[in-house]
């Protein structure tokens, strides 16, 4: 039961984007469509799960003075793996996400979970935490991405879901739209929490 809570806490209660406000740069940058949001979310989840597990395994071998560089090397390796594999097998998504794949290295969620969780917990719990947080991040990206894609392009996952007479609110898929949608969602979550 405790493990299950460890898994689901990242979805809403400790959602990395809406509650902890971590990893906002990719959140703002890649959520102009749901497809990109899913691609980015899955890539980050993959990195998060594996970096958490490796760091949990080697936590006792690393002197605390050099733990941050050691974590970064581990994270950067997995990010590079994701970058190469995506480029080889999903070139379309890789092209869209572009620079933001390598930038997963400096995504605060990943180093944050390594430092705050994986370095203090065992392998199983670390993997569960990584998966949960990663999926929470993905969920947040998908929510923002769907709102922006529906409003800004009248589409969802590339399919037209609104009638042709709908004139898209272009600003939603431009940069200001990302800030607006994320800000409003964060505000609504706080409103609900404070009630």
């Amino acid at each position: 039961m405790r493990l299950f809570q460890e898994f689901t806490k990242g979805f809403v209660k400790e959602n990395p984007v809406f509650v902890m406000a971590l990893g906002l740069c990719p959140t703002l940058a890649v959520t102009s469509s749901v497809e990109n949001a899913i691609g980015m979310g899955m890539a980050a989840t993959f990195v998060l799960a594996f970096s958490n597990s490796i760091i949990s395994l080697i936590k006792n071998l690393i002197p605390s003075k050099i733990r941050i560089p050691a974590y970064i090397v581990v994270i950067a390796s997995f990010v590079t793996i994701v970058d190469m594999v995506m480029n080889a097998y999903f070139p379309e998504i890789h092209k869209n996400l572009g620079l933001f794949i390598p930038l997963i290295v400096v995504n605060c969620i990943i180093l944050g979970r390594a430092e705050a969780f994986a370095s203090k917990n065992n392998l199983l719990r670390s993997v569960i935490d990584g998966l949960g947080m990663g999926l929470g991040f993905t969920l947040a990206l998908i929510v923002i991405g769907s709102i922006r894609e529906i409003l800004g392009a009248g589409q969802l996952l590339g399919y037209n879901i609104l009638p042709a007479t709908y004139k898209p609110v272009l600003v939603a898929i431009l940069a200001p739209g990302a800030f607006l949608v994320m800000g409003i969602l964060m505000g609504l979550m706080n409103l609900k929490k404070n009630k």
Binding site: K167, V169, L170, V171, A172, L174, P176, L180, G187
Partner: protein, 355 residues
Amino acid sequence: MSQIYAVSAAPHIKQKISVSSVMWQVALALTPALLAAVVFFGIRSLELTIYGILAAVITEALFQKIRQVPITVTDGSAVVTGMLISFNLNVASPWWLPVAGSVFAITIGKQIFGGLGHNPMNPALLGRAFLVASWPTLTTAGWTASAPFKNLFEGSINGLKNLPSNIPDVITSATPLGVAKALRDPAIISRDMAETVMNKLADMDTIRHLFWGNIGGCIGEVSAGLLLLGAAYLAYKHIIEWRIPVSYIATVFVLIYVFGGINGLFSASILLPVFHIFAGGLILGAFFMATDMVTSPVTKRGRYIFGIGCGIITVVIRLVGGYPEGVSYSILLMNIAVPLIDKYTVPKPFGEVRS
């Protein structure tokens, strides 16, 4: 607390004004310009304005009901916002455009910050920025000339009727500022022709048309003369104060005179700055938007800085930016700077000992 309220040293004079009376008088002052729009563009401009006002008022009432705070739509501030948003539109806009602008302006621009008095930026301008970013083709292209009274004055859409006929299309279908912008791009128009057109722009005839409003453009900016009439009324009633509009317009005048010509510094005729003042939304922006009490500085020095800043940004956008007109963005940008301006221009109380 005293630091927040005491902006200048005592004694303070109390005036009998309220938000409500101020806002209704602003609405009244905007009416002559609206009448001009009806005359030049037809009844459609009145319809669009009413859509904008209704949407603004209903949104404000709904939002305040949801927030469970007193409903204050009768103070007229939502009416002014709705009016100004419609004033920024092309008369050929669909009905939902002013509605969308008003809803955005009231929710995101105003109520989300806590309602009137808490908004950092002018809600109407924010609504306009939202419309321009969202539907750029509907808000920035296809300006219509004043159809029914097109021949009332002998000039056509931009007073450029007697131009050489081989001038490219862009020159004859744009707003006056669109023309002024196109002249600066050698890829569009040759140097010689640019000079001919430039002389036409900086011409008493053109300026007369701009002043009365027989030009292409959006609903509210069409007649500079009637906007000035409204502004004069507000100034007489001490609702708007002169420092912001005067420093704003003076800055535009000087900068256009220095940099506006196409043959280097000081090559512009003295009438070119006059053209730039009456064309576009400068009069509307300087008198009715930049002077918004909530979003402009409270100190006197601050107001000069605010006006000069608006002027500089406007001229930079008009001469070298991507858009032909920069009034709305310049005011929005300076709105953001207001807390900073206020912070550095607080007057020193008399007799205070320096610590």
